[in-house]
């Protein structure tokens, strides 16, 4: 592969790397596993990049490849399984927004999302990234109606967790 292609790819990935980091955060629970998955996503993106025509935005294309890597291709290595867990899920609240109840609720919510299965996590991730149901259904390969139904179920599930 030529240097120019490599250069353009690295620049795009550097710019959009947060998409992959968010996916890694959702699907792994420790630092090593996060880096391991990020590495695999990078390799998969790079391998697929020559076929990226630019018909869609790089970020849109990246969502699909990165999610596919996380839920289908990624093989957890032994090295990453037995390391320490993150202490809960961290999140940042600006001082002016600080709300003890809301903070607590968010903590519970992040933990609840971590407990969901791989497919539910993918749905939640795309939803949180503001993707519409058409995009969600195309990324996962299910019908739009079913994506909506499943999303509503997840919402209810999360609501129950918050207000038992």
């Amino acid at each position: 592969m030529n240097k120019e292609l490599e250069h353009s790819f690295v620049e795009l990935l550097e710019k959009h790397q947060n998409i992959a980091h968010k996916i890694c955060r959702l699907y792994t629970n420790n630092y090593d596993a996060h880096n391991d998955l990020f590495q695999e996503i990078t390799v998969q993106l790079w391998k697929a990049y020559p076929k990226f025509r630019g018909d869609s935005k790089f970020s849109t294309w990246m969502y699909r490849v990165a999610l596919n890597t996380a839920i289908t291709l990624y093989r957890k290595s032994k090295r990453t399984i037995q390391t320490q867990d993150f202490e809960g899920v961290e999140f940042k609240i600006k001082a002016q927004d600080y709300d003890d109840t809301e903070e607590q609720q968010l903590k519970v919510l992040y933990q609840a999302v971590h407990q969901l299965n791989d497919i539910e996590k993918a749905l939640v991730f795309l939803y949180l990234e503001d993707k519409n149901y058409k995009e969600i259904s195309e990324t996962l390969g299910i019908s739009e109606v079913n994506a909506r139904v499943k999303m509503n179920r997840i919402k209810t599930k999360l609501k129950t967790i918050l207000n038992p």
Partner: protein, 210 residues
């Protein structure tokens, strides 16, 4: 506020992971992939090679085996036909596997991607199944051939009582079945472990579309 809406509000405020620089990303491109497709590919190549070796090594390493086989081939055209058929099957599997691997695309939808991988795995499964059937058949045929064409054995078998004949047949059949079962379980274990997560996620996606 709805739980998910609350989460959405906070989602982009998450602390960013240490941002990688261009210089840090470059070396990552050339690291080896450890995806299940790659592992599946290595396993299928190993299987192809393994069964080809099983079928050819005795011919090249044992003079007596080669002599005996050459005599059989010279006497009976059926063996030549069977051998040609065997190699044709191997070529067909190589072609199907290659085609199937080419169809795996990480840019497909998650469901499509999983289906392509499972289809590839199915081809490998049929290849193994084919080889096990051939191996089982050959073993049984080999035993039969030895009992009927080896003068010493044939003589012993001729003096077998009814019970002894039943016993000998049972031992031959059971040992063949056990041999095949062990190999089959070994494959199930390898693929079971490798594709456990993929199968679970595929089932989940299919359940959504029912």
């Amino acid at each position: 506020m709805d739980g998910l809406e609350l989460l959405k509000k906070d989602w982009n405020k998450q602390p960013e992971h240490k941002k990688l620089t261009v210089g840090e990303i470059y070396p990552m491109l050339h690291k080896k992939s450890s995806s299940i497709v790659k592992t599946l590919f290595y396993i299928s190549v190993a299987e192809l090679v393994f069964w080809i070796l099983i079928n050819t090594v005795p011919y090249f390493t044992s003079d007596s085996f080669r002599e005996r086989l050459d005599t059989v081939y010279a006497d009976d055209g059926t063996f030549t036909v069977l051998t040609v058929f065997g190699y044709a099957v191997i070529l067909l599997f190589i072609f199907l596997l290659f085609k199937s691997y080419k169809s795996i695309s990480v840019t497909d939808s998650a469901k499509q991607l999983m289906e392509s991988i499972l289809r590839t795995r199915k081809i490998v499964k049929y290849y193994v199944l084919y080889n096990l059937i051939v191996a089982g058949g050959s073993l049984l045929f080999g035993f039969y051939f030895a009992f009927t064409h080896n003068p010493e054995l044939a003589d012993q078998v001729a003096h077998f009582s009814r019970e002894q004949t039943i016993m000998a047949t049972a031992v031959v059949v059971i040992s063949t079945v056990v041999f095949i079962l062990i190999i089959w379980l070994f494959y199930r274990l390898i693929y079971g472990l490798l594709l456990k997560r993929l199968n679970r996620n595929y089932k989940e996606l299919k359940k959504l579309d029912v």
